[in-house]
């Protein structure tokens, strides 16, 4: 099994199989002329679906979103109901000074100002988030590698304030950091190169790229990134979030249309808003929904004036960080070509983490990078550094060099950070003369497959694509968010738990990020702990195993096609 996943990536399987139980369904409306709708029409079972997409997918595309069991959904809503009622009760008690209020208060001098916050705005924070606040912002005091050290915190007043005891929780297995390739290290070539660079260049720059902050390092990085991505030219920015929010406005404006996936990251949403373009949202990874929007947009033009749109930009992400799903890139590209739209691909989580050569989702599907107009990604995750990039045609990058908000107004990247990226990127490319990078890529995809398979076998509902190193495990109920995080920490495993508003209200989840740095022992230890906590909290919701092993079926199905 262990070698399978890696070879699977390389061999490529000419089969396509979707098991989108939930997300793709319920979006019926279809017409005959569309690229991806015919098959739905004359689709008696999933079989014909494979056939029609054979040309687009070179390997199985298995993505699952098991439906929420009804009882669980009802209980979850009840949980929120009870929490809300108690919240009101507590607020009432606080108002009447029966309960001590720990919230910071407005200054006496400004009591008669318009309140800075509306009362209901913070209801959720005060009464729900505060109960389980200890699961977030846990301070760490080591490298965020496969194992990390956490500062122990205690709270004397039910999470309103925290005190550090001075103790350190040593060697907590880190399932939370986006350290996909394990480049978060304080020793080794990357760290050495970064320190050398610090000595040579210092840490700051204190100027912008267009003024006097354009170091030779910046240029070196950009040439390397372009080569890595296989694009003509590239540009690097100091912050991943800002790469999206400050460059999309440079690309589109009034009279342009942005089609955005409903689960896109906040930075893409902000960038789209700042651009002043019209924004329409399509269902998550749902090509029918996207195609319908595209057709309608071109046929009907702009609202009211009915002028044709100046241009249409599709915003998608490579891996969606909360769902663990991978974008259906071959279909998106086919659509984009058919309807002459432009494609903006955010590879924040997928660059380095996907593809046989670590080149992200384009590499994963074996596509041509020049089919994606704007390749965006971050250096924070797989490269263990900070910042973001945009790659594409030379015209695009030249234009951005002049018009990106970041190059004109924001301080340029810190030299040691650049060096970390250069060294780790060269390692992935094998240009450092070792096979270390390739080994890490294999290790990551092996770990991913193993971890996902084991969780699945245990009977958890896990979301997302089988090849995605982001693994969301469904918790559903609000009380289980806190309980899961705490129980895992008791077992010395650091996990991320997320609830509303980062997820739909009933779909609270825990999220694991698999890393190449995780050894099999660590993963086993984590898996055992997850299983134990899963039994304790009754998290093994999946009904697939019980009903004729449908779940593991898909795995054996894959494996049978290996040879």
């Amino acid at each position: 099994m262990t070698q399978n996943s890696a070879s699977k990536l390389i061999n490529g399987d000419a089969l396509h199989r979707t098991k989108q139980d939930k997300k793709a369904g319920g979006n019926g409306f279809v017409k005959n002329h569309c690229l991806f709708q015919q098959k739905r029409h004359r689709r008696p079972a999933e079989k014909s679906h494979h056939a029609s997409c054979t040309s687009l997918y070179k390997k199985p595309f298995v993505e699952s979103f098991e439906e929420t069991p009804l009882l669980v959904a009802v209980l979850t809503y009840m949980g929120y109901g009870i929490l809300t009622i108690f919240g009101y009760l507590r607020d009432f008690l606080r108002d009447w000074k029966f309960e001590k209020c720990h919230l910071a208060r407005e200054r006496e001098e400004q009591k008669d100002f318009v309140p800075l916050y509306q009362d209901f705005e913070n209801f959720y924070t005060r009464n729900l988030y505060m109960r389980i606040r200890d699961n977030w912002n846990r301070p760490i005091c080591s490298v965020p590698g496969a194992k990390m050290d956490l500062l122990e915190r205690v709270t004397p007043d039910y999470n309103w304030t925290f005190e550090h005891t001075g103790n350190v929780l040593k060697d907590v297995i880190n399932m939370g950091s986006y350290n996909y390739l394990g480049f978060a290290e304080n020793t080794g070539t990357c760290a050495d190169a970064a320190s050398e660079c610090t000595v040579k260049y210092g840490v700051g720059v204190s100027s912008t790229r267009q003024e006097i902050g354009n170091l030779d390092k910046h240029e070196e990085l950009e040439i390397l990134v372009a080569r890595f991505l296989g694009v003509e030219s590239s540009m690097a920015f100091g912050m991943g979030f800002a790469t999206n929010s400050m460059n999309i406005p440079a690309l589109t404006g009034k009279g342009c249309l942005i089609l955005s996936d409903e689960l896109n990251h906040a930075s893409l949403v902000l960038g789209a808003r700042l651009s002043g373009s019209t924004i329409r949202v399509f269902k998550h990874n749902n090509m029918q929904s996207l195609e319908k929007l595209l057709r309608d947009a071109i046929v009907h033009g702009q609202p009211r004036t009915h002028r044709p749109w100046k241009k249409i930009l599709i915003l998608v992400e490579g891996i969606y960080s909360m769902e663990g799903s991978i974008v259906r890139l071959p279909e998106v590209i086919a659509l984009k070509k058919k309807y002459k739209a432009y494609l903006y691909l955010d590879e924040a989580h997928s660059i380095g983490a996907l593809g046989p050569r670590g080149r992200g989702v384009v590499d994963y599907f074996g596509l041509d990078p020049s089919d994606v107009d704007i390749m965006m990604g971050t250096f924070t995750k797989s490269f263990g550094a900070a910042g973001g990039y945009i790659g594409g045609k030379k015209e695009l990058i030249d234009y951005l060099r002049l018009h990106s908000h970041s190059t004109v107004y924001a301080t340029s990247m810190s030299p040691p950070i650049i060096q970390q990226i250069i060294t780790s990127m060269k390692c992935i490319m094998g240009e450092d003369g070792s096979t270390l990078g390739q080994e890490r890529l294999c290790q990551l995809s092996e770990n991913t497959t193993y971890f996902r398979r084991r969780l699945h076998e245990m009977g958890f509902i896990i979301y997302g694509n089988n090849d995605s190193p982001v693994v969301p495990l469904m918790l559903y109920m609000p009380a289980k968010i806190g309980a899961f995080g705490r129980e895992m920490l008791k077992r010395n495993i650091g996990t991320v738990v997320v609830g509303f508003p980062a997820t739909p209200i009933i779909e609270s989840r825990a999220r694991f990020c698999v890393s190449a740095a995780h050894t099999r022992e660590m993963l086993d230890k984590a898996l055992n702990a997850i299983s134990e906590v899963g039994d304790l909290l009754q998290l093994k919701y999946s009904r697939k195993n019980r009903h004729g092993n449908e779940g593991s079926d898909s795995f054996s199905f894959l494996e049978s096609h290996q040879d």
Binding site: A104, R107, E109, F113, V114, P115, N137, P139, I140, S142, V143, P144, G176, S177, A184, E185, N186, C190, A194, S195, T198, Y201, G202, V203, G204, V205, S206, S207, R209, Q210, E211, I212, N214, M239, G240, F241, A242, M246, A266, S267, R295, V299, W309, K310, K311, Y342, F379, T380, G384, A386, E395, L396, Y399, L402, H403, S406, V408, M413, S414, I417
Partner: protein, 487 residues
């Protein structure tokens, strides 16, 4: 009452019997007509011409989008950036013992050695050995990246320490750090001000403030640069508006957003008057101090210290750590009641990877240096005054900005009328100076995006490292260039 109604009914029935037949027939027809009108769709809303699939295909075939980006001419003046490198100096005459100096006071621009009059390295901390060592030891402990946002194992003990230190330094309750200077105020404003709220902004506000305003989707009212009367006029207008609808006025938050030292004009804001207006009209003040933090005031606490204004009177202060602190990132500080809100609502804080610990460590060390040696700020002030004075009387150029400001603007006295030509002239001056070992830069703006585009200018930045002699030389050089180029 009931019997009266019965009586009416009886009368109606009687009238029915008594009515002539033609009358009944007519009424019958009318009733049928009404029913027909109700149930039929004889009228047409508009000519609904549902397109056939073929027509749609043709439309799709026909549509040609604009190119993704307009073509940029290869010789656009700002397409090719100046390339900067560090300085390699031979230590004590031995060529073999070379030492690398970071690009700070001395830099190499496009291969030419220069004295730096362009980076915002006010306190000269870019090449501080102490800062470097601290960053290195942090790198040894934590590695480079944080691999996560603050919420998900991206909070390091160094971040908590830096926040505590910044709060202590600024004498506020709490501070919050961002990983990017530009994103700081741009995230902070929309965390508080929402749709329907009102923000009063100075026309000269910098670009990151403008982006914050745009993201907040609030009503924006611009007042003339540093013109308190104009601001008061707007506030009064709003007061009158409020009286018309007091219920609505009770929920509209209002803010004044200003800069301490304006980056675009090098002017100081009249803070004491602003505070007065704040209490008079009950508006909150957000103050952006990127240019004044670590520059103004006895201890470098910025414009509040400079004017002796109680820092608690300012609701939120934001600054970047990229200028005086010579690191990366930014911070906001103020009372916990205000600042803490950003930990869940500041987009650039929640959704972005946290600041690399080595950069946070560098900022802490820079703060240490600032606290240990307040004399730095006096030196800087003197240098600023010196530069301001030395640049006076340059033919054809006027100095814009306060004598206290560490980043001054040199604008053309007589504009040629075209921005491009003006920029070309100024660029020629910059190039002339570069050839004579003085690194200057044009102040860059996005012409189409700026709300009020500042006039073209050369930016002259003062740092503590510049010697008397270098300043004289720079002033001399600029004068010569101006004489030569502007005639």
């Amino acid at each position: 009452m009931a019997s009266g109604q019965q009586w009416v009914l009886v009368e109606m029935v009687q009238a029915f019997y008594e009515a002539p037949a033609y009358h009944l027939i007519l009424e019958g027809i009318l009733i049928l007509w009404i029913i027909r009108l109700l149930f039929s769709k004889t009228y047409k809303l508009q000519e609904r011409s549902d397109l056939t699939e073929k027509e749609k295909e043709e439309l799709i075939e026909e549509w040609q989008p604009e190119p993704l980006v307009p073509l940029v001419s290869k010789d656009h003046p700002s397409l090719n950036y100046d390339v900067v490198t560090g300085f390699v100096s031979a230590v004590s005459g031995h060529i073999s013992e070379e030492m690398n100096l970071p690009p700070s006071h001395k830099i190499i621009v496009n291969g030419k050695e220069c004295v730096n009059f362009a980076s915002f390295n006010f306190l000269g901390l870019l090449e501080s050995e102490r800062v470097k060592l601290k960053a290195l030891s942090s790198l040894k402990k934590y590695g480079v990246g944080t691999c996560g946002p603050r919420g998900f194992y991206g909070t390091f003990d160094v971040h908590l320490e830096l926040e505590e230190r910044l709060a202590k330094f600024m004498r506020t309750e709490e501070a919050i750090i961002y990983s990017y200077g530009f994103a700081t105020i741009a995230s902070a404003i929309p965390a508080y001000s929402k749709r329907g709220d009102i923000i009063f902004v100075d026309e000269a506000a910098c670009f990151s403030i403008q982006k914050g305003l745009q993201a907040s989707r609030s009503f924006i009212k611009y007042f003339k640069h540093n013109d308190m009367e104009d601001l008061e006029r707007l506030l009064k207008e709003q007061e009158i508006e409020d009286q018309k609808n007091p219920r609505k006025a009770k929920v509209i938050r209002r803010f004044i957003v200003i800069e301490g030292l304006y980056i675009n004009t090098a002017d100081l804001c009249p803070l004491p008057e602003l505070v007065k207006l704040k209490y008079k009209y009950k508006v909150r003040i957000f103050l952006e101090e990127s240019m004044s933090f670590g520059v103004l005031g006895e201890h470098g606490r910025g414009v509040t210290e400079h004017f002796g204004v109680n820092i608690d009177d300012i609701d939120l202060i934001s600054a970047n750590m990229e200028n005086a602190l010579a690191s990366i990132g930014g911070f906001c500080c103020g009372r916990s009641f205000v600042i803490d809100h950003q930990r869940l609502s500041g987009q650039g804080y929640c959704f972005s990877a946290s600041l690399p610990p080595m950069l946070a460590a560098a900022a802490i060390e820079a703060l240490n240096i600032m606290e240990e040696d307040p004399g730095l700020f006096r030196v800087l002030r003197d240098k600023c005054k010196h530069v301001h004075k030395a640049l006076q009387g340059t033919p054809g150029l006027k100095v814009v900005g306060e004598p206290l400001a560490p980043a001054l603007h040199l604008q053309l006295e007589n504009s040629s009328g075209s921005r491009t030509d003006d920029l070309k002239l100024l660029r020629a001056i910059v190039d002339y100076s570069l050839d004579r070992q003085i690194a200057l830069t044009l102040a860059r703006y996005l012409d189409k995006e700026e709300r009020f585009l500042p006039p073209p200018s050369i930016r002259v930045v003062v740092t503590v490292e510049q010697t008397q002699e270098e300043i004289e030389r720079a002033a001399q050089c600029i004068r010569q260039a101006a004489e030569k180029i502007l005639k």
